[in-house]
C-alpha cells in the first residue's frame, strides 16, 4: 500500500482562500489528525484528497487504486433506508461479502440490534453516525478518512468510536481524522497537524497519548487562534 502525498494544495472559493500550499504525507497504517478552528481548511483538505473538490493548484499522489472509506461531517444517509439496508448496499458496492455481513458490521459499530430495521429518519444522530461508520468500513479500506467523526456523540459513544478506530488501525487501516476535540485526537493519533487559515502551521508527534500532551496541544491551538485574531 503506497503512501498518500499531497503537494502544495491550494483552493479558493470566490476569492476567499480556503487552503494555501498545504503539503502532507500519510504513511500506511498511520493515524494522522487535523486540528484547527472552524473554517481553517480541514474539510477542504480532506475533500481534495478524496477528489470531491478540485484544488486550484498542487497535486495528490497515491490515491489512485487505493480503497478509501469516508465518514463525512454531515453523515446524512438516505432517510427511508434502514441501517441493515444501508450496510447491505455498502457491502455490495465494496464487493466485500467475505469479511463482513450487515449484522457483523452493525455489531462492530455497537448499534443495538433493535435499531437495525428502523428507517434512519427515526434514528438519533449518534445511531446514524454509527451506521455511517459501518458504511465507511464495509470494504475493509486501506485508508479511512473521517471528518469530525465524534461530533454529536455522547461520552460513551465517543469512547466506543475511538476504540473501534484504534482497533481498525491495529488491523492496518491508515486513518486521517479531523476533529475539534483535542483529547480524542491525542488518544487516537500518531501525529497531529495544526491548520490555520488554510495553512499547515505545525506538525506534532504524539508519543504518550497522554492528557499532558492534549493540554500542551490545546494551549498551542489557543495561541494560534489568538494570533490570528490579532
Amino acid at each position: 500500500m503506497p503512501s498518500i502525498h499531497c503537494h502544495d494544495l491550494s483552493k479558493s472559493y470566490r476569492g476567499a482562500t480556503s487552503l494555501q500550499n498545504a503539503s502532507l504525507t500519510l504513511t500506511p497504517g498511520s493515524v494522522t489528525g487535523l486540528l484547527g478552528a472552524n473554517g481553517a481548511g480541514k474539510s477542504t483538505l480532506i475533500k481534495c484528497i478524496l477528489g470531491l473538490i478540485q484544488p486550484d493548484s498542487g497535486s495528490i499522489e497515491g490515491t489512485d487504486g487505493a480503497s478509501v472509506g469516508y465518514l463525512p461531517e454531515l453523515a446524512n444517509l438516505p432517510a427511508s433506508a434502514t441501517a441493515w439496508q444501508t450496510t447491505q448496499v455498502a457491502l455490495k458496492l465494496c464487493n466485500n461479502h467475505a469479511d463482513y455481513t450487515p449484522s457483523v458490521l452493525l455489531d462492530l459499530v455497537c448499534l443495538d440490534a433493535k435499531h437495525w430495521h428502523k428507517p434512519l429518519r427515526h434514528c438519533s444522530k449518534g445511531m446514524r453516525q454509527r451506521v455511517a461508520l459501518a458504511y465507511a468500513i464495509a470494504g475493509k479500506p486501506q485508508w479511512l478518512i473521517l471528518d469530525e467523526p465524534m461530533s454529536g456523540l455522547d461520552a460513551m459513544g465517543r469512547k466506543q468510536f475511538l476504540d473501534i478506530l484504534l482497533d481498525l488501525n491495529r488491523q492496518g487501516t491508515g486513518i486521517l481524522v479531523c476533529s475539534h476535540i483535542v483529547p480524542d485526537l491525542v488518544r487516537l493519533c500518531d501525529r497531529i497537524l495544526l491548520i490555520n487559515h488554510g495553512r499547515i502551521i505545525d506538525k506534532v508527534d504524539i508519543i504518550l497519548h497522554s492528557m499532558d500532551e492534549a493540554e500542551a496541544l490545546e494551549s498551542r491551538l489557543m495561541q494560534t487562534a489568538n494570533q490570528s485574531y490579532e
Binding site: 470531491l52 478540485q54 463525512p72 454531515l74 438516505p78 433506508a81
Partner: protein, 268 residues
C-alpha cells in the same frame, strides 16, 4: 455494472419509500376517478373528455414526479452529502447513471400504473359509448398518450440533470428546474407566433436570430399537439411522430451529456 445495478436498485427502493412517490401513485386512481366524473358532466363526446382529462393528468403526474421526486433525490444527494457515501466506491459518471436509472425505473412504474388505470377506464368508457361517438378512439389510446408523456418527462429529467449538475442549493435546483420546464412548455406557442412569416418580415435580422436561438435552446414539447390528435381520434402523421421522437431524443442526449460532463468536474 454490478455497482451500477446495486445503486440503481437502492435508488429505486428509496424512491418507492418516499412519501411524495406514494402520493403520486395514489393520484393515478384519483386522476382516473376524476376523468370519469368530469366526463359524466357532458352529454356528448364523453370519451373525448375522459381522454383529454387523462392526458392532462398523465402529463402533470410525470412532470411533478420529475420536479419533486427526481430533483429532490439528486438535490439531497449533492447538497446534504449523501453522494459522499457512494462516490468513494465508483466514478461520478457511474454514480449519476445509477441514480438516474433508479429515477427512470420509478417513472416507468408510475406511468405503467397510470397507463393501466387509464386503459381500464377508456375500455370501460368505450364499452358504454355508441360506436358512432367513439371518434376513432381505441382502448390503447391511453398507452400512446403515456408513451408521449414518457418522452416528455425524460426531457424534463434531462433538464433536471443539467440543472442539478451545476446549481448549488436545494432551492436553486428545484427553482431552476421548474422555471426551465415551465418555459419549455410555454415558450413554443409564443415562439411559433413570433416566427410567423408576417412577424419575421417586420423585425430586424438580429431579433429574428435571437428568437430562433431561444427556439433551439428549449426542447420541443409539442407532443401535446399530437396528444390532441390522439384524444380526438385523429391519425398521427408518422413523419411528424418520428421527427418528434428523434428531436426529443437528441435534446435529451445533448442536455444529459452536458449535465454528466459538468457533474464530473464540479466541487461537491
Amino acid at each position: 455494472m454490478n455497482k451500477l445495478l446495486t445503486l440503481a436498485a437502492f435508488s429505486l427502493r428509496e424512491i418507492l419509500a418516499a412519501p411524495a412517490y406514494r402520493v403520486l401513485m395514489s393520484s393515478t386512481i384519483v386522476i382516473g376517478i376524476g376523468a370519469m366524473a368530469i366526463s359524466n358532466l357532458f352529454l356528448l363526446e364523453t370519451i373525448k373528455v375522459e381522454l383529454d382529462f387523462l392526458w392532462l393528468g398523465i402529463s402533470l403526474l410525470a412532470t411533478v414526479y420529475m420536479l419533486v421526486v427526481a430533483t429532490g433525490l439528486l438535490a439531497q444527494d449533492f447538497t446534504q452529502g449523501i453522494a459522499y457515501l457512494f462516490l468513494p466506491h465508483m466514478s461520478r459518471q457511474i454514480y449519476l447513471l445509477a441514480r438516474v436509472s433508479g429515477i427512470v425505473a420509478g417513472l416507468l412504474l408510475l406511468l405503467a400504473l397510470m397507463a393501466a388505470v387509464a386503459t381500464a377506464i377508456v375500455t370501460w368508457g368505450l364499452h358504454h359509448t355508441p360506436t358512432a361517438q367513439t371518434h376513432g378512439i381505441v382502448w390503447w389510446s391511453p398507452v400512446m398518450l403515456t408513451g408521449m408523456a414518457l418522452l416528455q418527462s425524460l426531457t424534463v429529467l434531462s433538464i433536471v440533470i443539467f440543472t442539478c449538475s451545476w446549481a448549488s442549493g436545494l432551492v436553486e435546483m428545484i427553482l431552476f428546474s421548474t422555471v426551465f420546464t415551465g418555459l419549455a412548455y410555454l415558450l413554443p406557442s409564443v415562439i411559433q407566433a413570433m416566427t410567423s412569416a408576417e412577424v419575421m418580415t417586420q423585425v430586424p435580422g438580429w431579433t429574428a436570430m435571437l428568437i430562433h436561438a431561444v427556439d433551439y435552446l428549449f426542447p420541443d414539447m409539442t407532443g401535446a399537439q399530437m396528444a390532441l390528435a390522439v384524444v380526438h381520434g385523429l391519425p398521427v402523421p408518422s413523419t411528424e411522430l418520428a421527427w418528434f421522437v428523434v428531436s426529443q431524443a437528441g435534446y435529451i442526449m445533448i442536455l444529459t451529456a452536458a449535465g454528466f460532463l459538468i457533474f464530473a468536474r464540479r466541487d461537491l
